[in-house]
């Protein structure tokens, strides 16, 4: 094919590809396609049910809550309830808010209390009867004595209750409820009532938004609605101050920080690459020819990733922007290779370079392709992004330089030492140094500590975190207690699991105060036994009157109770268990509605224990601590092992490919340089007491693939004991500089990746440079 037609064909191919990518990418709905939600990094079909539970709870329930604190500095002793009430009303004008509740508003609590009282025989009596019957069974007395025994117990419990501080406040209730069904909730439901306005402090408003706080719609528009509502409040109550917190504030800050980091890091990387290039390249402007290669590589990576994945996490693009550091390698290698003769056609030159180019690119692509088998979506997405980007980079480099008349970027070669001459002293020193490096590489990694923390995926926002802690403390959230979620496939099963969990918890932390929404609901067994148990208590009325008199009560005072009891026995509550759960759920509004989900496919109930969280719960309890971070940290540790296995398999494949392509001695050198560099860096990190995570491991994999390129491209030079090509030095130092910049990132993941890759690349380049000098010339 004529040179001109080759050139045209290459240009058309590049233009068509670029146009296709641009058209695809401009038509995307990025708000839907790109996620900033940390929980999206966990597989949707994560097999651990507790993870699915936490994911659902965190996404659908917890995340939508926004908390507002209204202060009036001019009257510090009085909660500005009027201003807070106005804020709640104004927020409710916006369709973005589903609920806005002024806490400490007695009317809501009174309504709930009345509803529970009205339904006490359905909700509370079955459990009360069940517990007493089980206790009676332990006494071994005959069944005919049960009624008298129950009456005596009830009167004694009532007498004891009068010693308690709340007895005075609840005396009117006690008259109609001497079995203490509702007063008994004081202990069990105390943790559920939520906070009121702090004494003499600010007024508190609890809200729930209608949109996901992790979507754009749940951020900017919600913030605008808050601003507008507070403007109204300030107009009516000048001087009041507002503090507020919500997941959306973190998500928006995280997104803004990541965007600014991407811009800053990319600029700094570019500056670093240019700085290095200025040292090695004679005509620096010619380096601009590498820009199209990198741009096409990134376009291809974006296009492939967005085509394959329905939703991608923003971190893929942050980490993916590092692709430039790898993509530039092929460009450098082709562009900086001088022709063998002046008239050597481009196609011929390319054919000459094709073996190392393909060996380098395809082996790296094979390695990254293995990441597609990871359980973790982020790793799969990175695997595809980098793999596709590398293929595009190689294709673009090959096609782009076909456009140029004489594609050659002339570099400066720094011959510090004549590598052909043997220097025994230097050789021995280098051999000793390589020996020490070997010891570090073999021994150091054993000292490494690994710890995975999902928070490393997020961008730290100390100011927002401090605000969050302050606001949540005012809302009564205790840092000393623990919160648990208990689930089941039906509400009856969830309630039974809750009983099992409470039984376990009472043994694990005896005396710790426990509150749960589930305790307002009987178990299915107790519910079904309500009618028969009431039937067996035909003489209870008389027995209880007598017992009350014996304990110093005026039994006639309780006549409203005895009337209600009589009616209850005649018409016991009926209906399915689900309807009782529905009755309870229907009573809950505002923060209380967050305490359980009593319908649908995966019902759950929340339990608060005033005790620090203990060891992991046995799986048969179907209960998980809501300290979701720890659960997810455990999950990430599992993913790290999965990534490690895949990386090792990938590395094995890469090495096998090298041995398939190259003779054994060259293959061994090519395999040892990247692997040795990686282990050496891990050894150094281990000796210096560093704690690594999943992303150091991914960085190492990337670093090994990059070093692998340098080992391949310098293979011929090593054999002939000449300095490695300038393209390798330039490429390695550019990569080290750009990744070194990333190690200064405030995002822990980027920092981990940047540091690991930079160290491995520098080590590999040092090995490539010094390795020939440590050998005796043949």
């Amino acid at each position: 094919m004529a040179r001109a037609s080759q050139k045209t064909l290459a240009r058309v191919a590049l233009l068509v590809f670029t146009a296709g990518c641009v058209i695809w990418l401009t038509r995307l709905d990025y708000a839907r396609k790109i996620s900033t939600n940390v929980l999206d990094l966990i597989p949707a079909a994560e097999q651990a049910p507790e993870i699915a539970l936490i994911r659902g709870f965190a996404n659908d329930v917890q995340a939508r809550v926004m908390l507002f604190v209204v202060d009036d500095p001019s009257a510090p002793g009085v909660p500005p309830t009027a201003a807070a009430q106005l804020l709640a009303s104004e927020l409710m004008r916006s369709p973005l808010f589903a609920e806005a509740v002024l806490l400490g508003d007695d009317s809501a609590q009174n309504v709930l209390g009345k509803k529970i009282f009205d339904h006490r025989f359905e909700l509370l009596l079955p459990t009360w009867l069940g517990q007493h019957e089980r206790t009676f069974a332990l006494t071994g007395q005959p069944p005919e004595k049960y009624s008298a025994w129950l009456a005596e117990q009830s009167a004694a419990e009532l007498e004891k209750f009068l010693n308690r501080p709340e007895a005075v406040a609840l005396q009117d209730l006690t008259l109609v409820d001497p079995l203490l069904l509702v007063p008994g909730l004081v202990d069990r439901a105390r943790g559920l009532s939520g906070p009121g306005s702090a004494s003499g402090g600010p007024a508190l408003v609890w809200t729930r938004i209608t949109v996901s706080p992790l979507d754009e719609a749940g951020q900017g528009p919600v913030f605008a609605a808050v601003e507008a509502a507070f403007a109204q409040v300030r107009a009516a109550h000048p001087g009041v101050k507002l503090r507020w917190s919500g997941i959306n504030r973190f998500a928006a800050a995280s997104r803004a920080r990541i965007e600014s980091e991407i811009k800053l890091l990319n600029i700094l990387s570019l500056v670093a690459v240019l700085g290095v290039s200025c040292i090695f390249v004679r005509r620096i402007y010619k380096i601009l020819h590498l820009v199209p290669v990198i741009v096409i590589s990134l376009l291809g990576a974006w296009t492939a990733s967005t085509l394959v994945f329905d939703r991608l996490h923003i971190l893929v693009f942050v980490i993916g922007s590092l692709l430039a550091g790898v993509a530039i390698d092929y460009g450098f290698y082709i562009y900086m290779q001088p022709s063998l003769r002046r008239e050597e056609p481009y196609a011929e030159k390319l054919r000459r370079l094709l073996k190392p180019l393909l060996a380098s690119c395809l082996t790296t692509v094979i390695g990254f392709s293995l990441l597609l088998f990871s359980e973790l979506p982020l790793i799969r997405q990175i695997g595809l992004f980098v793999g596709a980007g590398l293929l595009c980079a190689l294709g673009a480099a090959m096609l782009y330089f076909a456009q140029l008349e004489r594609p050659l970027l002339e570099g400066r070669t720094f011959e510090l030492l004549d590598t052909r001459r043997d220097r025994p002293a230097l050789r021995r020193i280098l051999q000793v140094l390589f020996g020490i490096a070997l010891v570090i590489a073999l021994g150091g990694p054993w000292l490494l500590r690994w710890r995975d923390d999902i928070r490393q995926l997020d961008v730290p926002s100390p100011a927002l975190q401090a605000n969050e802690e302050e606001v949540r403390a005012l809302f009564g959230e205790s840092s000393t207690g623990s919160i648990y979620l208990t689930q089941g496939s039906t509400v009856a099963e969830a309630r039974q699991h809750l009983d099992d969990f409470l039984d376990y918890q009472s043994k694990a932390t005896p005396g710790a105060s426990i509150a749960s929404l589930g305790l307002l609901l009987p178990t299915e067994a107790d519910w079904r036994q309500l009618g028969p148990r009431l039937k067996r208590l035909g003489k209870f009325d008389g027995d209880f009157r007598a017992a009350l008199e014996r304990h110093g009560f005026l039994a006639d005072s309780f006549s409203p109770f005895f009337q209600a009891w009589d009616m209850l026995r005649q018409q016991p509550p009926a209906g399915g268990y689900a309807s009782v759960a529905g009755t309870l759920e229907g009573m809950l509004t505002g923060p209380l509605a967050m305490l359980g989900h009593l319908h649908g496919a995966a019902p759950w109930m929340l339990t608060m224990v005033e005790h620090a969280e203990g060891p992991a719960l046995p799986p048969q309890l179907h209960t998980v601590a809501v300290s979701q971070l720890q659960s997810l940290n455990g999950l990430f540790t599992r993913y790290r092992w999965s990534a490690l296995r895949l990386s090792l398999v990938g590395l094995g494949l890469v090495i096998a490919s090298v041995f398939a392509i190259y003779p054994f001695r060259r293959g061994l050198r090519i395999a040892l340089i990247p692997a040795g560099s990686c282990f050496f860096v891990f050894g150094v990190l281990g000796l210096t007491g560093q704690t690594l995570n999943l992303f150091h491991l991914l960085g190492a994999f990337l670093g090994v693939c990059l070093s692998h390129n340098y080992a391949i491209f310098s293979s011929d030079n090593a054999t002939s004991r000449t300095s490695p090509p300038v393209s390798i030095r330039l490429s390695a130092l550019c990569t080290a500089a750009s990744f070194g910049v990333l190690s200064f990132s405030r995002i822990p993941v980027i920092h981990a990746l940047g540091l690991t890759v930079a160290l491995i690349v520098v080590t590999a380049l040092t090995a490539v440079e010094l390795e020939p000098l440590a050998r005796r010339p043949r």
Partner: protein, 222 residues
Amino acid sequence: MKILPYLLRFCLGLVLVASLRLSAADSLPLGPDTLLTDPAHDPAWTELLAKLSASKTRQSQFEERRYFPFRSTPVMLKGEIRIAPEHGLSLRYLEPDRRILIVDDKGLLMRDDEGRQRAAPSDSRAQAVTSAMVSVLRFDLAALQKSFVMYGRRDGSAWMLGFVPRDPALAEMIGTLFVSGEQTRLDRIEMTKSSKQRIEILISGAREDVIFPGDVLERFFR
């Protein structure tokens, strides 16, 4: 038959019983005669109230009688009372159950003998009751006048004060508060909703300017 001593003893017994059952409301009728419109500038009360409100730590024993409409006899509780102006009021119940009740600026806190504690719901009712109690026990005149209509009567060194909440909801909840004593000593606190619904706290063995060591403060206050 020497009937007189029996009659005398019987009458004395009746008087004693009557005095025991006599509520503070009977001793301090709430009317124009006992209304204190400006106690801060009333010469009869200025000095006493100033002494009562002085920042002094106090410790004493107490006996609490709770009268319920559905019981024939009051429920009796006994314990120790500690007042530390900077920390609030602490009631340590010793009989029949052991528990500690702390009333301070943050509200009401209940603590059992093992140190487990729980705060009372911080809703406006509980807040109103505890802030009323704190104001009364501190004799914080400014706060008291804001929330209560005050009544008082002095009889030599004995005195009695009555506090009727201005807020009808609070009045419905706690009724009327009475405190009485001798000189600068507080002897009795009473919350009366009706003759059958009231609480009496009788204070004895009071000591002033008690030094509460750190561990005592930690155990009995928040």
